[in-house]
Subunit: 211 residues, 2 copies
DNA sequence: CCCGCCATCCTCCTTTCGGAGGATGGCGGC
DNA sequence: GCCGCCATCCTCCGAAAGGAGGATGGCGGG
């Protein structure tokens, strides 16, 4: 047991969840909750004043969301370890978080002990992943020989309009480009998302939270 | 203050949330948390043995989900008041819950005091809605002169295949019906969802959590 | 017992999609 | 200074999608 307990910050927009997390960490001799933030901006401010060792953060928040907050947090304080604690285990969320340099990615259905251990592991420089996340990553490596390039901003713009029900012609008018250009963008999107029609494309994009 | 405090049951699949909720209600003289369940089945069993006055329940749970649990709960114990406490305020969730006869619908970002008051109001026979839910209902009544009939099971079956990228012909083969029948189902779906093509239809259906 | 809803099928016709293939100019990184 | 990515445009063409309109049988509730 170190003489100075781990300083933990909790970031979640739900008071219920913040309460629950704080409760799970009270009474532990080696971990102290030193701050709670309801969004990314608060988290950044509190990180400066409270100097936590580890941050438990939800990804989905109003205002500055999880990934943005993580990036800025790590830019300001490279020594702070961030554990993402979220309800979702979608593809896009996980990879966004991992590429933002988190020390862990846990689901909110994790039991108390797993959370404690994750915080200790993160503080010690280790990494923690929920088992479901782990299998998701394995799945990604195995059947995914295609690098699956991300659609360009312009392509996403087209896709968003398609999702709203626009025809190619309407997209063309809205974006001030020709209909054939719209088709070209869409064709590229199909390739990148591994689908072959617009309906499947919008579904794939929504599942990956691209639109 | 009544001589017997309100008996409250908490139903949520996330330990963190259960802890948080329990913490929010401990120390109150007029409300006691008598049971916690992690899914609908547990909730039904505990309702029988613990006889709560009010149940706080998440809608999204593994196994028997919120709406199913509410319906069976109210069938077994018509006197129990159910408050839905969820992260989402989507159209379909709200209306499913309301038609299941809940006493309240709150979002998890509700502050502590609002939860307390909601439980008291529900126990007293009242109804409570988050303000965001309220405005959602108002929106529904105002610009929605169309009753917006729900798609039939068969129509949803078609729509799910469409969302996976199937063409009408493929849907026809998969469901052992003719392509024209697929088109007819789709046409009806378009009308019901207020869209005019399949891409928009799958988006609308996903947003309303129909597929 | 009928009426309405559902699922199923049909034809005819127009519009749209999506594929194949190729071309151009701009811009940024190495 | 070149290469790659992006956005833009083009033609040709077949395959779908979608609209209009009508028809049938089954099944359940009032």
């Amino acid at each position: 047991m170190p003489e100075h307990p781990l300083r933990l910050m909790i970031v979640d927009d739900h008071p219920v969840v913040r309460d629950g997390l704080r409760g799970m960490f009270t009474g532990l001799p080696d971990i102290t909750v030193v701050a709670e933030a309801a969004d990314g901006h608060q988290a950044l401010a509190l990180a400066r004043s409270e100097r936590p060792d580890v941050v438990l953060m939800d990804l989905r928040m109003p205002g500055l969301d999880g990934v943005g907050a993580i990036e800025r947090l790590r830019a300001d304080h490279p020594d702070i370890r961030v554990i993402v604690l979220t309800t979702y285990d979608t593809d896009a969320d996980v990879s966004r978080a991992l590429s933002a340099g988190v020390a862990g990615y846990l689901l909110k259905d994790a039991p108390r002990e797993e959370l404690h251990q994750a915080v200790r592991t993160a503080a010690a420089g280790g990494r923690v992943l929920s088992s479901s996340i782990h299998s998701l990553l394995v799945d990604r490596l195995a059947p995914g020989p295609a690098p699956a390039t991300a659609p360009t901003p312009r392509e996403l713009e087209v896709l968003r309009l398609i999702a709203k029900g626009a025809s190619n012609k309407e997209v063309a008018r809205a974006l001030l480009i020709s209909e054939t250009t719209v088709k070209t963008h869409l064709k590229h999107v199909f390739g990148k998302l591994g689908v072959d029609n617009r309906a499947a494309a919008v579904v794939a994009a929504m599942e990956r939270r691209l639109i």
